[in-house]
Structure formats: structure tokens, C-alpha cells
Amino acid sequence: MTQDKDARRPNVSLAERARRIRRLAVRMGEVQGQGYVGQALGIADVLAVSYFHALRHRPDDPYWEGRDRFNLSIGHYAIALYAALIEAGIIPDEELETYGGDDSRLPMSGMAAYTPGMEITGGSLGQGLSVSVGMALALKRKGSGSRVFNLMSDGELDEGSTWEAAMSAAHHGLDNLVCIVDVNNQQADGPSTKMLGFEPLLPKWEAFGWYAQRVDGNDVGAVTEAFDRAMAHEGPRPRVVICDTRMCKGVPFLEARDITHFIRVEPDEWAKALAILEAAGPL
């Protein structure tokens, strides 16, 4: 399994990119024998659309000033973002073997100082959107056309700071900010909606002044269209794409399992999951 020589090769479909991101995430999970693989499998389609359709970036220059910023507010989704960064050619494929190890550039929770392409230090949930507001304001101040994408989880909707930032983004008319909310309905203690009810989500974001859409986050076509609409929207409003995703998507025997926040995978199941993903492609 070697990395594409040209990660930007245009003739690879977004669905195929998503499949490869899933495969890379599972391989990292196998390295550690654990990890937030369920979330990674769920968000892979959104990351594929982000890195291979929406974002402007240069794999050989991850700090290029003209890039779009992708802020991972959910630090524990790092395994998913590493997979996307590897697929995008920003991190070498072989580095995957170091995931979560001592002195690795790929720690279990994402931190900006550790990983090229990791824009912020997430993990203390509910901070990313506030930082994104500051970055979006700063980019406007610089006259930059770069945009800020903030990936957050539905659990982060519980945090009051999320709504401080949501109000602020609308107040300042941040049309260069795109928030992606991964609604997988799973938090540490159980289903997100049972932890702290956040529905109805779409009208809530609209009421906060955002251009809001809600899509099936595992439908690559639907996500792509939603991102396109978000970009094409001309109103002076921040944009949010609420993505309903399925934990463990793409590996049916894990999807069927009693889903938990930290999915348990038996040692012999990694190879099985990988085989399923291998057999599913290329797409």
C-alpha cells in the first residue's frame, strides 16, 4: 500500500478518497489497538469533500498563506484528519505507523505544534469556533480571500462558548467562515440528544444568523452540493453545514455493533475491517 505519487490526482473520485481515508484511519487504529475509529469512519466523506473539493491548499506547503484554514475543534478526531492529511499528501504515508507513539507527530489528540496541516489545538471541546471567529476576522483584516473551516462535533453544541462564537460570527458578518457540525449522535455518556437536547438544529443556527444547511454527511454528492451552495451563497453571513453521519460507516460489522463513543475493536477485527474497505474499492 503506497501513497499516490500525486495525491492531487484529479481522476480519483471523492468516494474513493473517502474510502482511502477510512482505510488509513483503520490502519492507524490497528497501530494503537484503539482509537476513535468510529468517528473517523463516520466523518471520512466530509473530509474527502473538504480536502479534495472545497479547500484551497498546497500539500507541499501546508503553511502557504493563501490556504484555506481547516480547524479541527474536536481534537480526538485527529485520527480522521491525519488520514485525510496523509491522503492529501501533506503527511507521508509511512508516518502512519507512528500514530500515538512516543515522539510521534501524530498524537492521539490533535495539536497544532505537532502536525503539519493541523491548524489549531483542539480537544478542550467548544474552543474551535471561537478561535475560528478570530482567524476569520484577522483574514478579513489582512484582505485575504482565504476561508476558515471549523469542524466540530454535536457534543460541542453543549458548550456555551459555541453559541458565543455563533452569535459573534453573525454579528461580524463572517462570510469567510464555514462551520461543519458532525452530528453522529454519540457522546461519552450516550446519545448526544439524550445528553443535552440541541434540536431543532437547523432553525437554531438560522436563528443565530447563519446560512444553514443540513445534509446526509455520508452522501458525498449531497455534502459536495452543500459545500458548493455554502461557497456560492452571497449573503454576508457565516455558513454552517450540519452533517448527519453514521458512526463506523463503511464497515458493516462495526456499524451493527452497539455504538459507543470509544468503539471497541478486537485485535483480530482490524484486519477484517481493513479487508472490507479494501474490497470496497476502488470507487
Binding site: 478542550s124 476576522l137 484577522a138
Partner: protein, 347 residues
């Protein structure tokens, strides 16, 4: 209800004044009352003016606040540079997160609020979004320690302890208007995050008489004396200097070592001065006795094997009373008169 099962009001003894009775009743000071004594030389809004001037040569500087520009003197900057001023609303977590975002994009944001809100409400944002990567955010906070009579909701008596514990964070407690002006420039020049306590409004001018120049990380001996050495920070240096003058009249010679940078601490100078002459060493700070300059100095001296007679002038480890500021400064032993009396008693 207190931990002892009693309401605080059971212990209070209000003294209603009879109609027509003589005397002046001390009232709770305005929340942002100036700490200047009557007739004392002051300068208005030293932080705001210094930042506005600095911004002329530093296009990277922006100002952010959480609905407290007027009460942190940032309104002066906002008036001078309206397009570089960002009103974030009464949302301190957002304030610190957004400041981090500005710093990530190459700006030097000055974020202002009250010390209680930065240290308590927004701490996790300051820790993870700012300090963890040593971003260039300058956090400037009014109402440090006991500088308002509004009670614990506004009295930041433990902010130094909180920020001293935070890796990468520098901590500054300036004494007067001159030092605030100089420190504003110095912290903008320094790389990395800084927490600076702020006296705002008409701020006393004291250090000009000592030919003082703020240097980041340096303590300065403002006056020398063989009987006692007061190691002080923030407005307590003002009190220590006044106390030293009064004690001088009684032939008690007191030195004053001003330590505006609490972190990183100027251990070398502090140890050298504490070692010299076998003097009583008193550490004075406008902060709880827990975790501030007093304990920082004590630790430094102990590690250096220096053990003078050591005393602390600090606020008690308690939620403080509400009331008039002069009353409270007397009550908690940080007024000039209290400093004089305590040093005399300890000698």
C-alpha cells in the same frame, strides 16, 4: 450560607446613622474607583494612551474587549484606531479564543476584561488556545486583587496564583501610570503570552521620582535601608514606598525592591537583596497569601538556602467583604498605615 452554617448577615453589624447625626459615612466606592489618594499626581488612562501611541508603529496590534473597553481604558485605543478595535460582547471565552485566532494570523492582540473574568471564566481558553502554543496574546485586566468594594464577584484575589501556574504565561503587576505606559510597550515587544494587571482611570504617578524604567523580568531596588526590605509588586509598591517614608521619620530604614514581573521571577536580584544585611524581609502584594509573590519569593529563598526573618503582607485566604475601599484596605492590612504598623511590630 457559610461553611459554618451561618449566614454572613448574622455576623454583620450595620450601624444606621441617626437622623441629623454628624460624621461622614464611607460608602462603597464606585466599582472602578481610582485608587489615587486625594491630591496625588495621576495620569489618565495610561494603558489606553500608551497602546494607541504604540499602534502608530505597530500595525500588527489590535484591541479586543468583552464589553469593558471603557473600564479597561481600551476605549482610548478604540477611538484612535476604530477599525483595529473589536468589540466581542460580554463573552470572555470567545474573547480569548478570538484573540488566539488573531495571533495565529500574525497579529498581536491585546484582550481586555476584568481580572476575575479572565482568570476564572476564560481560563481554559487562555490555557489551551493561547498559552499551550505560546501565542502572542496580551491579556490586560482591570480590578486586580482588592481594587473594588463590590465583593468577591469582582475582586480578583487569586489571579496571580492562577496565571503563575500556567506554563508559557508571563505575569506582570505594574505599580503606577509610568510603569503601565512602559510595560505596555515592553509586553508588545516580548514574544509569547502575557497577563498584565491593570490600574485604570486616573492612575497615580509615583515611580517618576525614582528615575524608574520598567524592564521585563527585572526587579528594581527603589530605595535601600538596613532594617527591613520590602519586596513588593503592583500597587503595594506604592504603599511600601509611602510606608518607608513614614518609618524613616521614626528612624526605621526600610528598603523597597519592586518586582513587577511575577513570572518569570528575577530570582537572582531577589536572593541577593534578601541575603544582604540580615534584614527583615517582608513581601507585600495585592493578592491572596496563597500562590502569589510571597510564596514565589519564599520558595526562591529556600531553594537558594537564604532564610531571613520572613513575613507576608497579603490578602487572607478568604472571600473578602464588600464595602468602601479604604475601609477594606485597612481591614485586610494593605493600607499604608497598616503596612507601617505591621513592619514596626515585626522589627
Amino acid at each position: 450560607m457559610s461553611a459554618h452554617g451561618k449566614f454572613r448577615h448574622e455576623a454583620l453589624k450595620p450601624r444606621p446613622r441617626a437622623a441629623g447625626a454628624p460624621g461622614v459615612r464611607l460608602k462603597t466606592s464606585a466599582m472602578i474607583a481610582s485608587i489615587a489618594a486625594e491630591g496625588q499626581a495621576t495620569r489618565p488612562a495610561p494603558f489606553g494612551h500608551a497602546l494607541a501611541k504604540l499602534a502608530e508603529t505597530r500595525p500588527d496590534i489590535v484591541g479586543l474587549t468583552a464589553d469593558l473597553s471603557k473600564y479597561t481604558d481600551l476605549h482610548v485605543f478604540a477611538k484612535a484606531w476604530p477599525d483595529r478595535f473589536y468589540q466581542m460582547g460580554m463573552a470572555e471565552q470567545l474573547l480569548m479564543g478570538a484573540a488566539a485566532g488573531f495571533a495565529r494570523e500574525g497579529f498581536t492582540p491585546f484582550a481586555t476584561t476584568y481580572a476575575v473574568f479572565a482568570s476564572r471564566r476564560a481560563y481554559d481558553f487562555i490555557c489551551m488556545a493561547i498559552a499551550e502554543e505560546s501565542l502572542d496574546v496580551k491579556i490586560v485586566c482591570a480590578l486586580p486583587g482588592l481594587t473594588t468594594g463590590y465583593g468577591p464577584s469582582h475582586q480578583a484575589t487569586e489571579d496571580l496564583a492562577i496565571f503563575r501556574g500556567l506554563p508559557n504565561m508571563a505575569v506582570i503587576d505594574p505599580c503606577d501610570a509610568l510603569e503601565i505606559e512602559q510595560a505596555t510597550v515592553a509586553i508588545a515587544e516580548r514574544k509569547g503570552p502575557v497577563y498584565m494587571r491593570l490600574l485604570r482611570g486616573n492612575v497615580p504617578l509615583v515611580l517618576d521620582r525614582y528615575g524608574y524604567k520598567f524592564e521585563f523580568g527585572k526587579s528594581k531596588l527603589l530605595r535601600d535601608g538596613p532594617d527591613a526590605l520590602v519586596i513588593s509588586t503592583g500597587l503595594m509598591t506604592m504603599r511600601a514606598l509611602e510606608a518607608a517614608e513614614r518609618l524613616d521619620a521614626d528612624r526605621v530604614r526600610v528598603g523597597v525592591l519592586h518586582v513587577p514581573t511575577i513570572k518569570p521571577l528575577d530570582v537572582e536580584t531577589i536572593v541577593a537583596e534578601a541575603r544582604r544585611g540580615g534584614r527583615l524581609v517582608v513581601v507585600a502584594e495585592n493578592h491572596t497569601e496563597v500562590g502569589g509573590l510571597g510564596e514565589a519569593v519564599a520558595g526562591a529563598l529556600l531553594r537558594a538556602g537564604v532564610a531571613p526573618k520572613f513575613r507576608q503582607i497579603a490578602l487572607p485566604d478568604a472571600f473578602l467583604d464588600a464595602g468602601a475601599l479604604p475601609t477594606l484596605h485597612d481591614r485586610y492590612g494593605i493600607s499604608t498605615a497598616a503596612v507601617v504598623a505591621r513592619i514596626k511590630a515585626w522589627l
